[in-house]
Symmetry: C2
Subunit: 81 residues, 2 copies
């Protein structure tokens, strides 16, 4: 049983309206030092049933097929035993 964490973020060239709104709100609360705030998704899961060395390829496929939208999003993941 391995644990995996996937981080999915909008590509840098895509405007992040949600992140911009949160950044403005933080500025209004007095946190002036915040910049380039971006909001993405994190997907945590447990993986079983495949040899460890295949999990990475499987997870990459899962991201491309369902979890992320590769047209507008980047993703990165880490797997730990």
């Amino acid at each position: 049983m391995a644990k995996a964490r996937v981080i999915i973020t909008l590509k840098k060239t895509i405007m992040d309206a949600q992140g911009q709104t949160a950044e403005n709100a933080l500025h209004n609360l007095g946190y002036r030092g915040v910049s380039n705030l971006r909001i993405g998704k994190v997907v945590e899961m447990e993986l079983d049933g495949a040899p460890k060395e295949q999990l990475s390829a499987q997870l990459d496929k899962m991201c491309r097929e369902l979890l992320a939208n590769p047209i507008i999003e980047d993703f990165q993941f880490e797997i730990e035993d």
Copy 2:
């Protein structure tokens, strides 16, 4: 200028309908080995204007005040130079 990443997830006791839906969809696509899938948010930002040693306390406050909902969500963050 420091970079920070905040991971915000629903508390374990809160049902994650979005995560459950994604897990079911992955099962239907043939990824039977996936379990306990949970979906959360990741917030990435740059921080400036405070001494490095104060950034952690400031970020904790930002999470409690705006970024996370501490009643139903857990958060963790890391800061790198």
